[in-house]
């Protein structure tokens, strides 16, 4: 057995996708951990933006919310929420939007609004927040979530944010000039959209993961790339950075580590 968890592999694989030059709009939860691991390892100069208005923030612990005080205290500047969405996001300054999802389909469309019918939902989820415009205005979108048949579904119940629609050139036909979802990092694999169909295709399996394991936790028939890579396991530096960050975070928020 490898000495890291699938969750840790997911966060670290996601962190690796970010570069020093990125200006990244960070969603809370798994994306936030990945973005800060990137900053604390190979991308020290990455610009992290949280929708509360904090630009270029360098938190020592992961924020519980998108507006924790430390995000502001460590930021280059903090702007109002309208300025954040109008000038910085809509203005085209953000290279990567990093999102999580409650439900995701094979074309990178995300639902965080409802399970069931919108007007009579089985489960009312929080809704989109910044996601609809993060998905359309960022240069590209990375998505990260744990695989499960509840999460990776044939058909999402609500289009909270638009990925590649029904695939192909759906984004262009809507007038969108940004790339949309270009990467999906799960606890089992790395997926990239097929260049033509835009369907997420597994390009790399994490260490010890089988094709069957990927299929068993996905609600659609999985496509695998012709040459399937293996994700390099976490390095000691990556793993220690993530674990230290999580331990500091748990302590700061009064949770058991």
């Amino acid at each position: 057995m490898p000495d890291f968890t699938p969750d840790e592999m997911m966060t670290i694989a996601a962190a690796r996708a970010l570069s020093n030059d990125d200006v990244c709009f960070v969603g809370i939860g798994a994306p936030s951990a990945a973005c800060n691991v990137a900053r604390l390892t190979h991308a020290p100069d990455i610009t992290l933006i949280y929708e509360s208005g904090t630009i270029g923030t360098r938190p020592n612990v992961l924020p519980l919310s998108i507006g924790d005080g430390e995000l502001c205290e460590t930021a280059i500047t903090t702007v109002s929420v309208p300025e954040m969405f109008r000038y910085w996001l809509q203005g085209g300054h953000v290279t990567v939007g990093f999102l999580g999802a409650a439900q995701l389909d094979r074309f990178g469309n995300i639902n965080t609004t409802v399970i069931g019918d919108y007007h009579h939902p089985k489960t009312r989820l929080p809704g989109g927040g910044g996601a609809p415009e993060i998905a359309s205005s960022c240069g590209e979108v990375f998505i990260t979530l744990k695989q499960s048949k509840r999460g990776l579904v044939e058909k999402i119940d609500f289009f909270t944010s638009f990925g590649h629609g029904r695939g192909g050139d759906d984004r262009q036909r809507l007038g969108l000039k940004t790339k949309g979802p270009t990467l999906l990092i799960t606890d089992l694999a790395i997926w990239k959209p097929d260049p033509a169909s835009k369907e997420f295709t597994v390009t790399s399996l994490h260490e010890g993961v089988t094709r069957d394991a990927v299929q068993e936790t996905c609600g659609w028939p999985v496509k695998f790339a012709a040459t399937l890579e293996q994700t390099p396991p976490p390095t000691p530096l990556e793993l220690n950075t993530l674990r230290d960050l999580k331990a500091r975070t748990a302590k700061a928020h009064g949770q058991a580590a």
Binding site: L64, S80, H119, F162, G175
Partner: protein, 284 residues
């Protein structure tokens, strides 16, 4: 010049049954004390406006005060779902509520349009998003110069906005710093406004010239409530009480637990308890 009032009086004079009201704050400076006072005074049929309706709107919905909620993210930030809101939406308990749901970009633009005296906001948004199909207030408008299709939403014009700020001076100017969120726009868009503050100072001498200040003529009423944002926080005064947000998930999960908590922590106490609640959270 705003009126300096005790909180109960400021709420009584400015909030009425049936009002469209915003208790704004983007994680930081959430006006919990003002919201609890509104709960004690027992208003009904409110249209609750807020980008991120978190605990205070969960509480108001659970108490049956809300007719409608206009919002863009109804979650307990970093924790999960809002269980009283869910109970209202999924089971119509204590009664059904109407939802007008937007994205953050739409709400931010709509407040800004309200503050600017415009009837609607225009922005590049909602592309392919399902909300446009379920919210009749989301329309498309064509740019008269380029022909680009853009999203349009009505301006937000609350009857009254409540915010919490760090301080006011004796003249009634209000200073907000840190994560300033949408509070300036919420106040300027509203017909009336109430600001709770941590403290009143003699003057703002030495304040940076670009600090976010609401000048006295733009503010309706000011009430001093130290700790009034708890369990949210006030930058420079006390930290966010993350534990309380985690605990709320359990409290709101059960109708009986919710009722008991509201009685003990809202109805049987007054605004003075907030100072006590932030004692351990104040920066050394």
């Amino acid at each position: 010049m705003p009126d300096f009032l005790p909180l109960a009086e400021a709420v009584r004079q400015n909030l009425h049954d049936g009002d469209a009201v915003a208790f704004e704050g983007f994680t930081h400076l959430i006006p919990h004390a003002a919201a609890h006072e509104a709960m004690r005074q027992g208003f009904r049929d409110l249209t609750l406006i807020r980008m991120t309706p978190d605990l205070v709107y969960d509480q108001m919905i659970g108490l049956g005060m809300a007719k409608k909620v206009i919002f863009s993210y109804a979650g307990n930030p970093g924790v999960g779902l809002l269980r009283r809101l869910r109970d209202a939406v999924e089971h119509e308990f204590p009664h059904a509520i109407e939802l007008e749901e937007h994205s953050h970009a739409a709400m931010a633009n709509a407040y800004e349009a309200g503050a600017a005296g415009l009837p609607f906001a225009v922005f590049r948004g909602y592309a392919g998003a399902g909300l446009a199909a379920v919210n009749p207030h989301i329309k498309t408008i064509t740019c008269p110069f380029t022909g680009e299709a853009l999203a349009a939403v009505p301006a937000l014009r609350p009857d009254v906005s409540f915010i919490h700020a760090q301080k006011a001076n004796r003249a009634g100017d209000v200073l907000i710093e840190g994560i300033i969120g949408i509070q300036k726009e919420a106040v300027l868009a509203a017909k009336r406004s109430v600001v709770t503050v941590e403290e009143i100072v003699d003057n703002f001498d030495g304040v940076h010239p670009n600090t976010c200040v609401l000048p006295r003529f733009a503010v309706g009423a000011i009430a001093v409530v130290p700790g009034g944002a708890h369990p949210s926080y006030a930058h420079g005064y006390y930290a966010r009480d993350n534990r309380s947000y985690l605990d709320w998930d359990q409290i709101a999960a059960d109708r009986g637990t919710f009722d008991a908590w509201m009685r003990a922590n809202v109805f049987d106490v007054g605004p003075e308890v907030f100072a006590e609640r932030v004692k351990e959270l104040r920066h050394a």
